[in-house]
Structures are given as structure tokens and as C-alpha cells.
Amino acid sequence: MLLLTLLFSLSGPAMGKHSDFEHSSFAAKSEGTTPRAARREAMRQDGIPTSQQPVSQSKNASGREYQYETPKPGGVTQTKSVQQQTKDSSHPGQGHWEAGTVKTDPVTGDVRMNNYGRPKLQNNKSEVDYDD
């Protein structure tokens, strides 16, 4: 009886580890699970070539930010921003990357800033979660 109990207690955690391993393998293959993959996917969704070099980059308490100049119809450029969000209270315990066109005042062209001192993004931005 003691032997059976010992075997059972050993088999439980072993099965759990197996499940966790399977889950990890699946997650590692999918896009958006690592911060880097999530950033690149957010860029793709917003039409920013992942090979493009940023024109500026910064870092603050909520994460990193990269800015890109991308072409717009009619031959002009627009500023896009790719931002890491680690302090999003609607996604507790999960960071994500956002990518989108920088929101500007339509009259003056001034960039709208958020409470973290970062450029606001237009509402049609893309968001990709990653596992912390």
C-alpha cells in the first residue's frame, strides 16, 4: 500500500510537467509569445517593415518605444510608433506591444502625448500580447 501511494504521488507531478512542457512547446512556436515576436507581429499588422530602422527610440517605466517614418498615399511620410506596454491594468500580468500612427492635432499638427510622456496612437492601432 505504501509503495502504491508513493508511486501515485510521483506520477502526478510527472504528468503535470509533461502537460506544461507540451504547452510551452506550442506557445514557443506561435507568434506573439516572446516580447520580440510580439513587437515584430505588431509592426507587421500595422504595415511597418520589420527590417526598417527606427528614426528614434526611448525607454521609460512602461517599456520601450521605437518611431518609424513610413510612406503615406500621395508621396508624404507619416510617423508610426511601436510601444511596449508593461503597465496596462486591463492586461494584468501580461505585457503587450502596440503599433500605430502617431495621433496629431489635425489643425496644428502637434503630437498628442499620453500620461507617460509618450505619443498617443490613433485608435486603429494594432496590439499583440506576449508572455512575461
Partner: protein, 162 residues
């Protein structure tokens, strides 16, 4: 920018711009009713001269656009300067402004997704005042609206608070 480039930008923006204008006015809008790009630039140059310190700001939930407090603020703006107004959306610089007889003719019950850029301005046609509405999804999952009232008359109004 060349005339050809301007025309390409206008053609690319016009269909969705007309949808936005019709939702904001509650009536059909013809492209012929839009001010020319030249008139739009003239008004922009006047609006840019509003002193930066002539502004009041407030942040309220986006849904408060339908509130009585917001309607009361519009009444106050109309009292302070009753000039015709121009609707200034992100695509207006490419397509031309739509002018309306009064700020009271604008449908502020528009949906959050109507303007994907999340920002619009209503300016008095005399170029002295403007109201900026900047709406966003916030990190707590709420939808917020920042109101800015600029100019010697409209900055005297008190925007609603939460």
C-alpha cells in the same frame, strides 16, 4: 507637395471622409459643399495664432458626449461665439472642411469607431476659437475623451467633469 500628390491623397481619403461627415451631421453631404483646400489652409493659419495659454482642458468618459452636461457646454459655446463652425477631421486637410451654421448642428452621439484616428476639431469660421475632442481606449479598458477649448471666447466655458 505637387497638385498631383494632393489629388491622390484627396481621392484616397474622400469616400471614408464623406461617411464620417454624414454621421456627424446626420444628413447627406456632397463633396461640392466642402471648402477648398486653399480656404482650409487660410482657416488653419488663423487658428494657429490662438495663444497657447488660452485653453481649458477636461477629461471625461467618451459616453459623456451624450450627457446633459456636455449639451449645456455646447449651449455655452454657442452663446460665447455663435459663428458658423467648421468640422475639422484628420482627413479635412486633404479633402476640405465642411462648414455648418452652428455647433448645435453636429451629432455628438457618434460611435467611438467612426473616426479611426480618434480625434476631431470644431472651429469657429472666424478662426478665433476651437474645440478639440481626443478619444482613446485607456489602459483600464475604459474609453476616455479629452476636451480642449481654445480661444478668447470658448476658453471661458467650463467643460464637464467626471
Amino acid at each position: 507637395m505637387t497638385d498631383r500628390q494632393l489629388e491622390i491623397r484627396k481621392l484616397a481619403s474622400l469616400p471614408s471622409y464623406m461617411v464620417e461627415l454624414e454621421a456627424l451631421t446626420g444628413r447627406s453631404v456632397s463633396a461640392d459643399a466642402l471648402l477648398s483646400v486653399h480656404e482650409t489652409i487660410l482657416l488653419r493659419d488663423k487658428l494657429k495664432q490662438i495663444p497657447k495659454e488660452q485653453v481649458v482642458r477636461a477629461c471625461i468618459p467618451f459616453e459623456a458626449l451624450k450627457s446633459r452636461a456636455f449639451t449645456l457646454m455646447l449651449d455655452r459655446l454657442n452663446t460665447l461665439n455663435a459663428s458658423p463652425v467648421a468640422l475639422w477631421l484628420p482627413k479635412s486637410s486633404d479633402c476640405g472642411l465642411l462648414q455648418l451654421p452652428s455647433i448645435k448642428e453636429i451629432n455628438f452621439g457618434f460611435s467611438f469607431d467612426l473616426i479611426p484616428e480618434g480625434i476631431l476639431v470644431i472651429a469657429t469660421s472666424d478662426g478665433l476659437n476651437r474645440m478639440l475632442l481626443d478619444f482613446s481606449d485607456e489602459e483600464d479598458g475604459q474609453r476616455s475623451l479629452e476636451i480642449e477649448l481654445h480661444g478668447p471666447h470658448w476658453a471661458q466655458a467650463t467643460p464637464p467633469t467626471c
